[in-house]
Subunit: 252 residues, 2 copies
């Protein structure tokens, strides 16, 4: 099968201190799944040159696409562009088109074009720009790295802008069934048997913990026929235990 | 200063497919901050031997503590224990005390002790157990690695159990002020000036995006006196721009 892979590198002290709960990773995961790109790894690092550069170099060598979020604003603690340039061994330049976009954005709003705002026109040498419909200052693409803003609304508008550049692999389909009140350990041997018999599918078992107890079984494959066969086997095993499997995913 | 560092490795296909939004990372971040341990990195990897083992070996060499979450249940897709044993180059054994805990737990509830349930008594050779008050099957500590469950309620009860084993470093204090309606770019030059003058503090600037616009400034240090001085400088600069800084953190 043809596969496209990706990683996300979320950058920011606030994500690791407990102040802010990252929202971009989860959003990107769903967005990539819809586009048949397999998100294989996520990392979160602080606003630290070596941490950013080290993670970036590991990820860009390993996956088709790397998305970064955060650290591209106007303040002194926004060091993502500099860290990425260092990781790539290239200079940081003032990108003429980025500068024009920022000047136009603030002039149109009657606001001053300060040095801090122009800081957001700096990019690694050789980068292309990613349009930011939400707040003017662009994101950056260089090679297989997409450098996006950390503010979720801006992160998402930048994803809209790069969508045509993202190529998916073979589509992976999935189906889910949920069984209320069945502990996953009761079904474990049967799931192992089905997984062993069905090479072309991946079967995941997710306990539900909350007001409702039970388990959700998700079967994934590029082949819907194989999924249907495995789901039927799961439903048969569940029925033979005296429980009922219903369609759909209960997010436990 | 004396510092203790940590990383978290969250394990599970469902975290990278967009199905499940990880909750343990954010919880652990706050928990460690309260205990003066510096969470320096987070990674999320799928249920894959090489991905788990590779990430674990990178993290355990670099940080004082590594916490894993997920993949220690009774089903075939729970491979964390095996992957960690492989990373450490040790065997997987059936831990006698873990077996006893699981047998007792299910017997007390009148349930069968199946092979699947006993699968949760397997640990890397040389591991100690972490008590699980919520569902019986223990977590595992081996060296500086704490292997915890992925279900948030169980993850948290296991953190309770290991709390006495976690040693913090020097306490890092923080204070925050929020300025409504002030774009962070307007304050950027002043923040840079204060950060440059104040070596012993770390100043973070976080734009607020939502119904309320503005910026939150957070100053962190081991020295409260230095924090107060930097916060006063920030408030003075904000006032000279004609805005008002109020105490507290607006989570933007």
């Amino acid at each position: 099968m043809s596969e496209k892979t990706a990683a996300i590198l979320a950058i920011g002290d606030e994500l690791l201190s407990g102040r802010t709960r990252d929202a971009n990773l989860h959003f990107l995961a769903g967005w990539l799944t819809e586009r048949a790109v397999n998100l294989r790894e996520a990392r979160i690092v602080p606003d630290d040159f070596d941490a950013i550069a080290g993670a970036l170099n590991a990820l860009r060598a390993k996956y088709d696409y790397v998305f970064t979020s955060g650290g591209i604003g106007p303040t002194h603690d926004d060091i993502t562009v500099d860290a990425i340039a260092r990781a790539l061994g290239v200079d940081v330049i003032v990108h003429p088109e980025a500068k024009r976009m920022i000047v136009d954005w603030y002039k149109a709003r009657g606001e001053d074009v300060t040095d801090a705002r122009l800081r957001m026109a700096r990019t690694p040498d050789g980068a292309e720009l990613i349009k930011n419909a939400a707040s003017g200052a662009p994101g950056v693409r260089i090679g297989n790295i997409f450098v996006l803003a950390g503010v979720p609304r801006i992160f998402q508008t930048m994803l809209d802008a790069i969508e045509p550049e993202i190529e998916g692999g073979d589509r992976i389909f999935s189906k889910a069934v949920t069984v209320r009140n069945l502990p996953e350990s009761t079904l474990a041997a049967q799931l192992l048997k089905i997984q062993t018999a069905e090479n072309g599918v991946s079967i995941g078992s997710y306990p539900i913990d909350g007001d409702v107890k039970g388990v959700t079984i998700i079967v994934r494959s590029t082949d819907i026929g194989l999924i249907d066969r495995a789901i039927k086997s799961v439903c048969d095993e569940v029925a033979s235990l005296g429980y009922e499997a219903v369609d759909g995913d209960h997010h436990g």
